[in-house]
């Protein structure tokens, strides 16, 4: 047994990358997730619309953060602001400065719940009219007439897109992305490593295939499998949990294909830099775990510490969650989702470029000396 223990330690010591990840990964995850794991929403973006918007806007306090005031707009504009992501909450006011309706975006579960609580606190902060009326009655001598104070009607609270604030409705569109991350990154990350370990990579290197041929050839089967997976997850999610589809299927499919391409490319990139399957899986987990925890799928982005939140903005799942929730729950058109689409595309270009470069290097160890030729050649070394 001792011999076995010693052998394992020797092998572990030689696998420096795995050893480093065994120590670095848990510490890194602890620090990042420690700062990210928070359901407390400290800031809720809000717009105030209607004729009393200006006077009410002075009363908007924390956790609400006023992003716009539109005295000439009404409820329809407020809904539009919420749909396009300008605000999470909209206060619709009447001419006397009273709030008649509060619209809340239910697609962002924790923000919506925080908004509900904050609105309830605001209502509790209203003056106690019954107590004031009694006080006036005591102070004003009989015969002078006591003014009658009437309490304004409480604002109507409307939760858009997810009226029951059901967790499943918010989670299922995002979970589809998580499944794509698992299929795309984790499984694709083993693709090239398998070639390396089977000793077939060398053979690929001399075949008349370009790095691009190999990259696309590696990604395409997983792409198809993941696309089928996505269809299944969405179909079952809609059937079992009643997740609505308010937007366009075409926009969702476009977003999913773009996201899938990015995640598969990440998988292939990981595979191309890993020496064995263990390393590939560890590196894949290094990208998968942060995506699950930092993408806004579970913890709201607004509640993350600023030092950690930037990580969320370089993770593709962050943008797919925005696209899938936006399309399915809020019915956002592609024009409202241009930002997540653009960021996903940029991420895709960056990752694919790195993956292609890495493939070129992997399939052509000579690249450091001179470019490889596919035709008959008389190559001279430096």
């Amino acid at each position: 047994m001792w011999a076995m223990v010693v052998k394992e330690f020797l092998q572990l010591r030689r696998d420096r990358r795995t050893l480093a990840m065994m120590f670095v990964l848990p510490l890194m995850l602890l620090v990042i997730f420690g700062y990210a794991a928070s359901f407390d929403v400290s800031s809720i973006s809000a717009v105030v619309v209607g004729p009393g918007a200006k006077s009410f806007s002075h009363l908007v306090k924390k956790p609400f953060s006023l992003v716009a005031t539109h005295p000439r707009s009404g409820s329809a504009a407020a809904r539009r602001d919420i749909q396009d992501g300008t605000a999470d909450v909209a206060f619709v006011t009447s001419a006397n400065g009273q709030v008649t309706t509060v619209l809340i975006n239910g697609a962002d579960l924790f923000t919506a719940k925080a908004a509900e609580t904050a609105v309830a606190h605001m209502a509790q902060g209203e003056p106690d009219l019954r107590r004031i009326q009694a006080e006036l009655k005591r102070l004003i001598p009989p015969g002078y007439g006591v003014p009658v104070l009437t309490s304004p009607a409480p604002p109507k609270l409307t939760v858009l897109y997810n009226p029951g604030l059901k967790t499943a409705l918010v989670m299922v569109p995002g979970l589809a992305g998580v499944i794509l991350v698992f299929v795309g990154t984790l499984i694709a990350s083993l693709g090239v490593v398998r070639e390396r370990q089977a000793g077939t990579l060398e053979q690929l290197a001399v075949m008349p295939l370009s790095p691009w041929d190999v990259l696309i050839g590696k990604v395409a089967p997983y792409f198809i499998v993941a696309a089928v997976d996505l269809t299944l997850v969405l179909a079952v999610g809609m059937w079992l949990f009643g997740v609505p589809m308010h937007g366009s299927w075409a926009v969702l499919i476009l977003g999913a294909l773009l996201f899938l391409f990015v995640t598969l490319s990440i998988g292939v990139l990981i595979s191309s830099v890993s020496q064995n399957q263990g390393q590939a899986i560890q590196l894949a987990m290094l990208t998968v775990l942060p995506q699950i925890l930092l993408s806004g799928l579970i913890f709201p982005l607004a509640s993350m510490a600023a030092g950690v939140r930037w990580i969320a903005y370089i993770l593709p799942l962050t943008y797919f969650v925005q696209i899938s929730r936006g399309v399915m729950l809020e019915g956002q058109p592609i024009g409202d989702l241009w930002q997540p689409f653009l960021y996903l595309a940029v991420l895709g270009v960056v990752v694919v470029t790195f993956a292609t470069l890495r493939f070129r290097r992997l399939l052509n160890p000579s690249l450091g000396h001179s470019r490889r030729r596919r035709g008959p050649s008389a190559e001279a070394g430096a």
């Binding site: 060398e202 290197a205 075949m207 160890p365 000396h369 490889r372 596919r374 050649s377 001279a380 070394g381």
Partner: protein, 282 residues
């Protein structure tokens, strides 16, 4: 058109794997690269096949689509069947059609693999895997066929089948380069290159390499004295002793014998070892 390398040098960080190596390959001929472990055989084959670019030197090879390469690991996908492995290679090299199908059937039959086309690569024996690897490398009728130790660890019958495949490729006009540790196989080749420590120790036909051996060779029943200890080795049940030119015949019951390729290669390696020791001592 002939292929090959001239003055090729390859270094892996501080290790010089090849040093100024020349090699000519002619269509329709088999060239063998022989040498011990770490001699530089695999590196030379990688350079010729295009899997590795030399630091210096010239490489002449056909287009990638006209090269067939069997890496040291056989290059067979363990999770694909024999048929699927060949289908992939044929598609990658653009070799499709009825003629390729017929050729595949012929090669599989001659290699004794016709009955196992559905078997996974990982389920084949070592010899079967090597034969499949060679068929895969030559399926598309390459102009240059590079085979890295195709017969190592293979039983005699499979070796014979493998050499049928190699000879068949040469007969079809391919320039074939084979790395091997077996000198009897090297004797089959039109010419051979003996590598050691990344340098060419000898090259030419097997007969030329054997006759070009300097000095004289003796055989005896007993081990020589300490003076000749570095120049002696066992061959079968008897001893061989090599004396350089000018050293004269050894004392005792030693008979002079004519050297063959195995003796010549051993002498070349011993000579280099002795020179290295002398250089180190100086």
């Amino acid at each position: 058109m002939s292929w090959g390398v001239s003055g090729v040098t390859v270094r892996y960080r501080t290790l010089t794997a090849l040093q100024g190596v020349d090699l000519q390959l002619q269509p329709g001929e088999v060239r063998a690269v022989v040498g011990g472990d770490g001699a530089g055989k695999t590196t030379l084959l990688k350079v010729v096949a295009g899997a590795l670019q030399p630091e210096t030197g010239l490489v002449r090879r056909p287009a990638a689509a006209r090269i067939g390469y069997l890496p040291a690991s056989s290059g067979v996908y363990p999770d694909l069947s024999v048929k699927e492995n060949l289908d992939f290679a044929a598609a990658a090299y653009g070799a499709n059609g009825e003629e390729v199908a017929l050729r595949r059937r012929l090669l599989l039959e001659r290699a004794g693999l016709a009955d196992v086309t559905r078997r996974l690569g990982g389920e084949l024996s070592g010899g079967m895997r090597q034969k499949l690897g060679v068929i895969r490398a030559m399926l598309h009728r390459p102009e240059l066929l590079v085979l890295d130790e195709p017969t190592t660890g293979v039983d005699p019958i499979s070796r014979r089948e493998l050499w049928w495949l190699i000879a068949h490729a040469a007969a079809e006009g391919a320039a074939v380069l084979v790395a091997t540790s077996y000198l009897d196989e090297a004797e089959r080749a039109a010419e051979l290159v003996l590598l050691d420590g990344g340098r060419v120790l000898a090259s030419g036909t097997a007969q030329y390499v054997a006759t070009a051996m300097p000095g004289r060779l003796y055989t005896g029943d007993r081990a020589p004295g300490t003076e000749d200890a570095l120049r002696a080795w066992r061959r079968g049940r008897r001893w061989r002793l090599w004396r350089p030119e000018g050293c004269g015949a050894p004392d005792g019951a030693w008979l002079e014998v004519a050297q063959d390729l195995q003796d010549a290669v051993t002498v070349a390696l011993l000579q280099r070892e002795i020179e290295a020791r002398a250089g180190g001592a100086a």
